[in-house]
Structures are given as structure tokens and as C-alpha cells.
């Protein structure tokens, strides 16, 4: 439990860093770090399969996507960037305070909750669960992926007009 707590605190801090940092590249790295921490949390919670997915897809693939987008779009001169940096602080300093307030405030809430144990018919094994009970989700996933493929085909194809 203590390890989990530490990991979760680190995760929130990494998320905070990704927002506060003024360099987009650093923000991406911080986001990947958040993902990695989430992966470790998942391992701690006995969810290895989801953890592997999170690590490879979120920490890996999404970071690659982000970095390529940044390299394609980010052309800010250094001077402008330094000037902006000062202003950014003004907009973002309330966030840590807000986090602190929310965190402390919520920690006083301790209403008892009744957590329902799984339905007796539920299968404990993830393989059975995924391949036998959640087939429709898989079908839906394929659908989403297909849509994504067309998205890539349409969106990343250059403009026909040549600009």
C-alpha cells in the first residue's frame, strides 16, 4: 500500500510537471513518465496485461506521435519563448495550490462505501474474459481501429491543391 501511495504521488507530480513546464518536448516526456508510473501502479495491482499495453502503447506510441507533431509544428523563436515563459507562470501558479486544496479537502471525506463483489458468473481469468465475454468490445475495437486507419489515410495525406 505504501509503495502504491508513493507511486501515485509521483504520478500526480509528473502530471503537474507536464503541465507546468514551458517546453513542449519536456511536457511530452513528463506525460510519458506519468504513463510509466501508471504502468508500475498497474503491476502493483496485479494487472500485468493492461500494464504492458499501457507501457507499450501510451508511453511508447503516443510519445512518438507527440514528438512527431511537435517536430512538424513547433517553430517558436527563442526570444519569444523566453518572454512567454514569464507570462505562463502567472497563469499556472494557481494549479499547485488548487491541487493542494482539493487533495487536503478530499482527504477529510471518509464516508463508508459498499463495494460490490463480482457477479458469481464472472470469470476470473482475463483470457476467458476477453475472448469469450467481451468479444463485442473487440469487434468495436476493430471498428475504431479501422476508423483510425481511414483517419490516417485522409488526414495525413497532403492537400490535393499542393499547399
Amino acid at each position: 500500500m505504501n509503495v502504491l501511495l508513493l507511486l501515485l504521488i509521483l504520478m500526480v507530480l509528473a502530471g503537474l510537471w507536464s503541465i507546468l513546464t514551458s517546453l513542449l518536448l519536456r511536457a511530452t516526456i513528463a506525460l510519458a513518465l506519468t504513463s510509466v508510473l501508471l504502468t508500475v501502479v498497474m503491476f502493483q495491482m496485479n494487472a500485468p496485461l493492461a500494464a504492458v499495453f499501457e507501457l507499450s502503447v501510451c508511453a511508447g506510441l503516443i510519445s512518438v506521435v507527440f514528438i512527431s507533431v511537435i517536430s512538424l509544428t513547433h517553430r517558436q523563436p527563442l526570444k519569444e519563448y523566453l518572454a512567454r515563459r514569464q507570462k505562463r507562470i502567472l497563469r499556472f501558479w494557481p494549479l499547485p495550490v488548487l491541487l493542494l486544496v482539493v487533495g487536503v479537502g478530499l482527504s477529510f471525506v471518509h464516508r463508508p462505501v459498499h463495494i460490490m463483489l463480482p457477479h458469481p458468473t464472472a470469470f476470473g481469468d482475463i483470457r476467458i474474459m476477453m475472448w469469450q465475454l467481451r468479444r463485442l468490445d473487440l469487434f468495436g475495437q476493430i471498428l475504431v481501429l479501422l476508423a483510425g486507419v481511414y483517419g490516417v489515410l485522409i488526414l495525413f495525406r497532403g492537400n490535393k491543391n499542393g499547399n
Binding site: 462505501v113 459498499h114 463495494i115 460490490m116 463483489l117 463480482p118 457477479h119 464472472a122 469469450q132 465475454l133 467481451r134 468479444r135 463485442l136 468490445d137 469487434f139 468495436g140 475495437q141 471498428l143 475504431v144 479501422l146 476508423a147 483510425g148 481511414y150 483517419g151 489515410l153 485522409i154 488526414l155 492537400n159 490535393k160
Partner: protein, 468 residues
Amino acid sequence: MNYLLIFVPFIALVLVNLLPKKLRPISSFLVLLLILAAQSIFAALAPFGLIRAVGAVRMEHLFGFHLLIDNLSLLLLLSAGIVGFSALMVAWHSIKDEDDRFNFTNLLFILLIGMNGISMLRDLFSLYVFIEAIAVSTFIMILLYKAREAYEGALKYLILSVVASVMMLSSIALFIMFCGGTSFEVIKLSLVSSGALARIAIALFICGLFIKGGLVPFHGWLADAYTSAPAPVSVVLAGVVTKASGIFTLIRLLTAVIGFSPATKDLLLIIGAISIVIGALAALGQKDIKRMLAYSSISQMGYILVALGCGTRLGLIAAAFHFLNHAIFKSQLFANAAAVEEQTGSRDLGSLGGLAQKMPVTGITSAIASLSTAGIPPLSGFWSKLLIIIALWVSGNYFYAVIAVLASLLTLAYFLTLQREAFFGQVSVKVSSVTEASAGMLIPAVLLSAMTVGLGLVFPFVIKYFVR
């Protein structure tokens, strides 16, 4: 039979993409047209028991998941079939580029599968996955032409859609924790015994659906997305897609899982009434045809919501019937807008005028659809609004009934503005050389307005099938 509704389009989609490049666009068009027509006919005739016998074949063991068709599913299947059909017809004539056209058909395939899935699902998370499939293909569809303002519409939609997803997923997590599963039966069974957090989960999910459906506190994205989308896309988007993922899912949840508690009823009535009024008022001030229609959509969805808010059987029937009607007349109005844009190159009401003389078919059909939306008899929109108002009155919500009645006047006012500025009136100089749109654009408009009139005339005869 049920499985065919999602597998046939899926297999067709895969097969069409394997064809040689030259054959793809035309074959995909024809195949999809055939599927949509078949689906519409199936859904329209099923209540009369003609196809029920065929559909009774049990294939559950083959695939291992449950897809159930009830009358509510047929409603969405029918709407999706009709609207998809019209959108495809419009697309075939308004999308000039072959690749774009092929991409549009492919995405429409995905939308269709998604909507058919939604109509038959009995699991909250699967519902979410299908909604997301629809949403992703919608983002892409809006950007089909990569028009400048479309990026804004798509981005706004994307951001709010992800926020909605977050709400829905949080609620799913809460359901796993407090109800022990995500299928409708499990949730329904344990909802009685579970505490406040399960209710929060319900509220979160409904909130997410409100965003997806563009109801009033969250309606910001809807007008932008509808307006900036290419013509055929806005037909399918306004006609059925946002309704399928928003309102339809809400109806499904209310009837199959949550039930009507006084708090839910109040929420639906209040949000619905606000949507009706704000949507209509916003539409009144618009100069862009599509934007006006988009706000009108919000207003009409408000009607469906207040009908649901009655919590009675009659209210549900009214909501379902208005859902179908809205799919018909709104997609037709967008098809008319597409025809106008195609022929005049403009959607600005200020620069149009007297088009009814230049484009008589478009003019007449749009007048029919407008009046139907405003609830003027004997068109089909009147009957659904009448049912809504009767349902509200009988269930004792007199105040909302009066709002619903008087808001029709606002609806009539903005549609009269639309008719006056665009169709009815003298031919303005800018459109003096305009001709009628091509036959392909007119077929859906004529077909849909024939449905509006026909449904309006035979409605008293078919109502017993609805009431049952």
C-alpha cells in the same frame, strides 16, 4: 438475423476494400446503398410481423454475445437506414473527388455498423466502444475536404467528446466497483441496493451523453461541427449520428436500466425545456442556413427530452416517434441546404432569395420539412409534437406543455425567416442564373418529404403499432 445487421456491413466493407482500385468507389456505393435500403425495409416492416419469423433464428452460441432487437432498436435501425441512404445519395453528387467519395462511403459503413451496434447492445462498456467508433469516424468525416473552418469544428468536437468519454468511463469504473459489472441486467439488479455513488455514476453517464448529444449546457460544439462539415456529412450527422450516440442511448438507459425516478424526470424536463427555448432563440438570429438548422436540432432534441421526462409510456412513444421524425425532416433540410450550396455556392441567407422559382423541387420540399419541424399539421412533425404535448399534459406537467406548445411558434418564426430569405420571395440578383440541383440531390429530398407527408397522413393508422 441480429448479427447480420453488424456483420454484413463489416464484411462488405472489408471485401470492397480488397477490390481493384478502379472498381472500389462505384461498388462500395452500390453495396452500401443496397445494405441501407434493405435495412430500412427490414426495420420498417418488422413491427408488422413480416420479418419477425425469419429473424427468429438463434445464433447466440455462434458468436457468444447478446444482441437483442426490440421495437426501440428498430427505431434506430430505421432512422439510420433512411438517413444513411439520403446522405449517400447526396454524397454521390456533391463529392466530386473519387477518393473522397470512397473514403466517405467507408466511413459511412463504420458509422452504420456503430449505430446498428448501439441499437442492439445490452452492455454499458460495449455501448461506449461503439459510441467512440462513431465519434472517431465523425471527426474524420468532418475533415473530409479539409476546409479551413472544419478544423475548428472537428477540434471542438474532439475535445468535448473526450471529456464526455472521461465522464462515461469514470461512471463505468464506478459501476464495476458498486454494481459488479457493466451489463444492463447486472447494473439494474444491483442499483436498488447500492448507495449514493451509483447514483453519481448514473449522473456522470447521462452528463456524458448530454455532451455527445449536444444538449444545452454542452451545446457549444454542435453548431460548429454541423456547419463546418461537408454537406453529406452534416446530413448524416444531424440526421442520426449525434442522436444515436446521445439521445438514443439515453432512451435505452432509461428504459432498460435506470428507470424513471422523480429526480431524473425533473432533470430531463428542465434540460429539455431549456434546450427547446435556447436552441430556438439562437436559431432565430442565424444568417447561415446550416447554423440555423444546427440550432434547430438542439431545440428539437429538447422536445425529445421533455417527452422522456414525462416518464410515462405515452411519453416514450412520443419521444420515439419524434426521434424518427427528426431524423427524416432534419436530414432533408440539410440535404436541401446542400442542394442550395451546391447550386449557388453560398449558405448566407442575406445573399439568397427567391430560390423557389429557380429550384422548385428544393423549394417545395424544404417548405414541407420546415413546416413539419414547426409542427404544422397535417405533416408528421405535428403528430409527434401533439403526442409530446398530450403526454406532458396527461402526466401533469402543464408548465412544460405550455412551453413546448409556444416554442413551436419560435420554430415557425425562424423557419419562416429561412423560407422568406432563401426560397419564398423575389429572385435576388446573385442567384438569377441558378438552376435546379441534379436529380441525385433531389431524390433524397423528394423521398424524405414524401415520407413526411405520407407519415403525417397515415399517422392515425400507424399509431396503434407505436402504442403497442
